[in-house]
Symmetry: C2
Subunit: 471 residues, 2 copies
């Protein structure tokens, strides 16, 4: 794809991306070596030339590709030319590592250059003491702004909002507003709408910039503003806010305090990150891992994954107990020991399929009381159909392998039973967890597999014992 | 969350969301009953009043909550007042069901009211014949526009782009540009930047609207435009385009043809959908399901999931073959049959943890050649640490349960071996698949589980046979 990109773009619009990334979107080894050499030579002129023009996300990728010593050296050598907003683009561990290595004075100075949302993003992970010290070094208004954001709960809209925005009274005309924007030096770096407020900062509405541009100068702002149906309370969880953006295709939204006063603006670029994180969270949770990052230490990773393994150990013992009840049966026909994991494993897979679809549909709110009944019926039917299919295949193979037609019937019947159990477990467990207020992505997996294991072993071994007159 | 939302917003900014959705974000039963009754009474006045003001995504949710007969009746009763853009917000099956029920004349008329990207979204799923018939009924320019989008490959930027945009020559002044926007009636519904082109429509640059608003009237557009580093070739895959948006925090980007002529604009709202779909795709693929939707039929669902189950059946037989080699061992100590699934299951879980992290890191391009070595070492260490932990617990329990200390040693040793195998499989398999150009989300799961099953059974049973002098 990258290839195509470069070709079609041609030489005319030489793209920085083409320079530092290879065709797979990974930073070029040659670029990295070049920067590494310049760092080793303490060649600040080359570094400022090569790194100074990078987009914050490109600089972030570069920082992640460097080894820690190079990273610290690069930040040191760039000095004031280091773009702190790149820190919002790297792993938390790398961000902390860089920030902890810098004097608070330098951080305080850099933070003033940032948009408030980026500043908060960097400050919120620091310990209270450093945070206070840095804030104390800031000018009053800057300090109050950041303090206010930091006082909102973690992962709230108030934490993610930008406190720089344009707000005008409703009685201004379009002409006045444009003139104000032409004069004022203190505008946000970029914005797509302006807000309309009363003298107490209460939010009255918003006007998109394209609306201002297509309206005659004499028209009053109050006449072209639209009501802000989607004002976001600062305490709202960022995921909830992201859903508003998605549902209503918002580019930015006003953030208001408990008195409906405008305190900031939430923009789509921050929301895109939240949407990604949310989808990623579900994926990681279903895989039995928590909020890991690639840069976490061995010990932290081990500790965060161990509880999940211990839970699985407990459920595995439940299955073992079921099997141990059939010791005499297995002793008489040891082929059962070879075949029983197949029944459990296929059930586990079918259950995981249903569960994955269910968890995702619950997360996107596509599954609700209006279609739950229909979806449950569908899953049971699918489980039955695929159960019959798999049962036929496995029955035939088992009968041929062990030269025992009855064994074929037994495993086929057990398979149909377990596929039905898998379908029911795969849909009912996430639904019940969701109804109970738990996150279905976290616990569905372990319960579903436990049920398909237990039913798989139980159905197969008990049918075998009865049908084949064993034990 | 919704609750809080309502409270903080207060009565002043009554939010439509509060009216039709309950606290869980699901359409209120009372609203649904009200609409259902109006449909039954063919009460078009009530329907137009209640449904006419809904946002397209709200109308989409309503359509999904209704039963098919109500859906068709509602679309019929609303007639020209039905907002076709709501069709871009519903499941494909529901969209096709609604569209197939409408005469092509009506679709052709409705499509003209839509933004071109929405029109293409609806038309692209229709069969060729209907598509041609509808296009033939459109005015020339409209037809050419949509045809051009539809001629680009599926899931390309050209399919997702909007062909309505504002483009001006570089020698115009800011004043001229604003005047043009005030006069022109044919502007897109909303836009955040204007493009700068030469007489042949070749893209020269872009200007954000806030830049226009803060610049004096006499300044030339050519002097404030920025180079469009991120022009998207129309043939670029939508996922690749989405990554550009994410990396560079774009709100919209020019789409250019193979001659670098401006043909459309891609906007962030379409990209957000792509980002979501992409994350969702990984999740579904890892769960062994493909591009399913909740509204798919039983048969379609069954058929799409069956291949995956058959592959798993094949790998399960590999494990069964391993076990069957140890028939004599198991006959001598049937406790092995009860314990062996524990070793395999824990290995499978640990492998899935590593694999989930790896697949996700590959998708987000966080894992690359610069950190692969470090991450592999980390995973092996984590596997070893958690292996020791789980081995200690399971060894103690097994020894106590079966009153056999040696059996405890055997299962503990097998567990450490399998956890190390799980860590290696969980990271190397996705990495190798990725290197080979395959999608690691699809096949990693089946290979990882096969390895942890086989190694789990093999290590446990062969150690048991040797250590305990069995078989």
């Amino acid at each position: 794809m990258e290839n195509q990109h470069e070709t079609t773009q041609g030489a005319g619009s030489a793209d920085a991306k083409a320079d530092i990334y290879d065709d797979d979107g990974v930073i070029r080894a040659s670029f990295l070596a070049h920067i590494g050499a310049a760092i080793a030579d303490r060649d600040t002129i080359t570094l400022k030339r090569e790194v100074g023009g990078l987009h914050q996300s490109e600089l972030g990728d570069l920082l992640e590709a460097l080894i820690p010593e190079q990273r610290h050296a690069l930040v040191g050598l760039l000095g004031k030319d280091f773009d702190f907003s790149a820190l919002t683009e790297v792993d938390e561990a790398i961000r902390l590592d860089i920030v902890d290595n810098l004097p608070n004075d330098q951080i305080a100075e850099a933070v003033q250059e940032l948009d408030s949302d980026d500043a908060v993003y960097i400050l919120e992970d620091l310990d209270q003491e450093d945070q206070d010290e840095i804030l104390a070094k800031l000018p009053f208004t800057e300090r109050v702004r950041l303090r206010r954001s930091l006082d909102y709960p973690e992962e709230s809209a108030g934490r993610r909002m930008q406190t720089e925005f344009v707000a005008v009274p409703p009685f201004w005309t379009v002409g006045q507003t444009i003139d104000y924007m032409r004069e004022d030096q203190d505008l946000p770096d970029s914005f797509t709408q302006i807000f309309v407020i009363d003298p107490t900062f209460k939010l009255l509405g918003a006007v998109d910039l394209d609306q201002i541009l297509r309206t005659k100068r004499a028209v009053k702002i109050g006449d072209i503003m639209h009501e802000t149906r989607h004002a976001i309370p600062a305490t709202m969880d960022q995921e909830e806010a992201a859903r508003e953006f998605e549902q209503y295709d918002l580019l930015s939204a006003a953030v208001v305090d408990e008195n409906e006063r405008l305190v900031g603006v939430l923009t789509i670029d921050d929301v895109v990150d939240v949407i990604q994180q949310e989808a990623e969270e579900d994926l990681l949770r279903m895989g039995g891992v928590g909020d890991e990052e690639l840069s976490d230490t061995v010990f932290a990773t081990s500790r965060s994954r161990a509880p999940w393994l211990l839970v699985n150990l407990a459920t595995a013992f439940v299955s073992a107990t079921v099997i141990s009840q059939f010791g005499a049966t297995i002793e008489q026909m040891v082929a059962l020991a070879a075949l029983m994991p197949i029944v459990a494993s296929l059930g586990g897979n079918a259950g995981t399929q249903t569960m994955t679809v269910t968890v995702r549909a619950l997360a996107t709110k596509d599954l609700d009381i209006y279609n739950a009944g229909r979806v449950i019926r569908r899953e049971v039917m699918v489980g039955f159909l695929n159960g019959i299919l798999i049962a036929a295949v496995i029955g035939a193979i088992a009968a041929a392998w062990f030269q025992n037609v009855d064994l074929g019937y037994v495993i086929a019947a057990a398979m149909v039973v377990n596929m039905l159990a898998a379908a029911l477990a795969g849909i009912l467990i996430p639904l019940l967890l969701d109804r109970a207020g738990a996150d279905p992505a976290i616990a569905s997996s372990v319960f579903t597999t436990m049920i398909t294991d237990v039913i798989g072993f139980l159905a197969f071994l008990s049918l075998a014992s009865w049908w084949l007159h064993l034990g």
